[in-house]
Symmetry: C2
Subunit: 381 residues, 2 copies
């Protein structure tokens, strides 16, 4: 064998560390995925490769009574869906639906604030994508009534709404879009990667056909894992069975449930169910944070008053400083890090996004004070 | 919201445990996925959802220098491939290839010992599957020369070989099939879910176009994660980029690298590289075990002398006991468990598979003695 791999070269991979440990972390894709203590215990218990099988000796993962009960009784109820599934992640779940209910060449209509993976999933399924534009600066709102004309013109195979989007944290009127979808009888998918597990949301109440969630983004799970809820009328199409293996679902390649992530998602779930009920507190903290940063000369874009912990800020005052600072555009990252704060993308000063999810009011005060301190330290005038 | 989820009902999910802890575990899908100590540390460090981003602040996972180096320098060399990728698992990697290089209605040729997910992946990609039959009992060998006539008759879009298969642990002549593939210019995929990470294997030496491996099955990683190696001539097709996001790969939905599993696979890798060099010891242990069980009246099916730790046994002596034992067909599972051994599927006595991978000779002796003890205890005559 021609492997010329030197142990000495490889040793670095044995000792991997997170740079954010011990810091207040504002990274929007990380705030909702912090494990609960119970999830951490499950992670350690089910660390090894295929150890999830050890919940019930000899059974396939999708036959394990506890996993079956979790999915069919609790997860489905949580999503407000007739049927629930684990997926490999939110983007994979979106592809599962596109690949099952559309055919190549079909058109779908999506919101202009959609995640980039909505586009890659549609490309992979060979679909044409029409986007509903947002309202532009400063709020970038999606007016769901704008779907209507596009539905009439394009006869889409499916419509998709990102609820909320990952840039501005806007929450469009998903329920109204459910009424439109019903009127035109078009399948409707809600991408709840940043809502399922953070805030109360029900597919049934929205009137959607499908809902997608992300375990690692918003359900306190290690990744990759996602969840999917659907109306039972889609069961035979999305969960179509193999001709050769009548128990196995073709779209999910038999069984996607293999990892440690399943154990973490289930172990975190009781806490997640409780935390969504405290969503009003999260909104209150986000609004407090937005207000305080605006007092310092920053501007929160997206919906106002804001309804979600994901926020986008425009910061001309910081951009001005970056033009003069010896660290240039990296000054903000370095100054915040010195003050125990990370998660805003290094190099950004003019615009950046962050999340306040799950941080204590006291921690947010530390962040506000840090911004204040940095601005006062470097501001001229 | 209409969630009627009671904390009391959900508490069971907070306290999940493995039944196999402390036992000698012969489960074939678990032996190669036991984490190394370094992988366990990485698991704990990168437990939280999207924490893998914390290797390099502000970069996408596929931009992180250490991850890029790992994949392009070390993993590719390990696989004997021009290009390496992480995938979501072996089955997903097989689908990635099928979906990229074939079109609906195409025919592919696969070995009759293939995993069931080869079939579900082909069904998902809307392919027609022709199988090369094995030689039947007792060895169930795949004669790769049998591919040749089928290639001539069916003009397949791709051929696939499972190396080894997951039932008998047979290792067909993959290299000879590489020559046949070259002669007929048909793309050739090797499913190495049970070889990559256990034994020396090189895509280049085999002459394959693609090789697939499984992190959680054979690379001491937590799941789900897989690896893919390919010849660079396929780059533009398999790694085709999004029209809208020119850095993002359509088939992989942009970036599949999101989980804790990546950290475990990288941290385990230096040990995995070393362990494949000790493959001869594993074969020797498997042969010892096969020999000892045959002495007790069991019969090892599949190739003999055996070349892999995955083994399939026929056990008429145990089947006879099961017909008389008060625990019936579950007697073997219960008797072995009493003796500190698990991993043979509960309820099986007549035929079962197991793996000796990574077990110490002393542990295998304990297993052999347990079988001996059980047989002596219950055997009549």
């Amino acid at each position: 064998m021609d492997i010329k791999l030197q142990k000495s070269e490889l040793q670095r991979f044995e000792n991997l560390h997170r740079y954010s440990t011990g810091y207040i972390n504002l990274n929007p894709i990380q705030r909702g995925g912090v494990l609960t203590p119970e999830a951490r215990e499950a992670l350690i218990e089910f660390a090894d490769g295929y150890s999830i099988y050890d919940l019930s000796p000899g059974l396939e993962v999708d036959e394990i009574p506890l996993v079956k009960e979790f999915i069919s009784e609790h997860l489905s109820k949580f999503l407000g869906a007739d049927i629930a599934k684990f997926t490999l992640g939110a983007r994979e779940g979106i592809f599962n639906i596109m690949h099952s209910i559309t055919k190549p060449g079909d058109t779908i209509i999506v919101d202009g604030n959609r995640h980039y993976t909505t586009i890659t999933a549609a490309e992979r399924a060979k679909l044409r994508v029409v986007e509903v534009p947002n309202s532009g600066k400063p709020e970038y709102r999606i007016n769901v009534e704008d779907y209507e004309d596009l539905i009439k013109n394009h006869k889409p195979a499916m419509i998709l709404l990102t609820y909320p989007d990952g840039s501005y944290g806007n929450l469009p009127d998903a329920k109204k879009l459910g009424e439109i979808a019903k009127e035109y009888q078009v399948p409707y998918l809600v991408n709840g990667a940043y809502s399922v597990g953070r805030m109360p949301i029900s597919m049934e109440a929205i009137g959607a056909d499908f809902i997608i969630g992300s375990g690692h983004k918003s359900m306190a799970s290690s990744g990759p894992i996602g969840v999917l809820g659907m109306n039972k009328k889609w069961e035979k199409i999305v969960l179509r069975k193999s001709k050769r293996y009548p128990q196995k679902e073709v779209e999910f390649l038999g069984c996607e449930l293999r990892g440690t992530a399943i154990a973490t998602l289930m172990a975190a779930f009781p806490t997640v169910v409780e935390r969504v009920e405290k969503w009003a507190d999260e909104v209150e903290k986000a609004r407090y944070f937005s207000r305080e940063l605006e007092r310092l000369g920053l501007k929160q874009l997206g919906e106002k008053p804001h309804n979600h912990d994901l926020m986008f800020f425009e910061a001309p005052v910081l951009y001005e400083i970056s033009k003069r600072h010896k660290k240039g555009r990296f000054f903000l990252y370095k100054e915040l890090k010195k003050r125990g704060i990370v998660g805003i993308k290094p190099g950004l000063t003019k615009n950046f996004k962050l999340s306040t999810y799950g941080l204590k009011k006291q921690e947010l005060k530390v962040v506000v004070d840090a911004f204040k301190d940095v601005i006062e330290k470097y501001k001229t005038s």
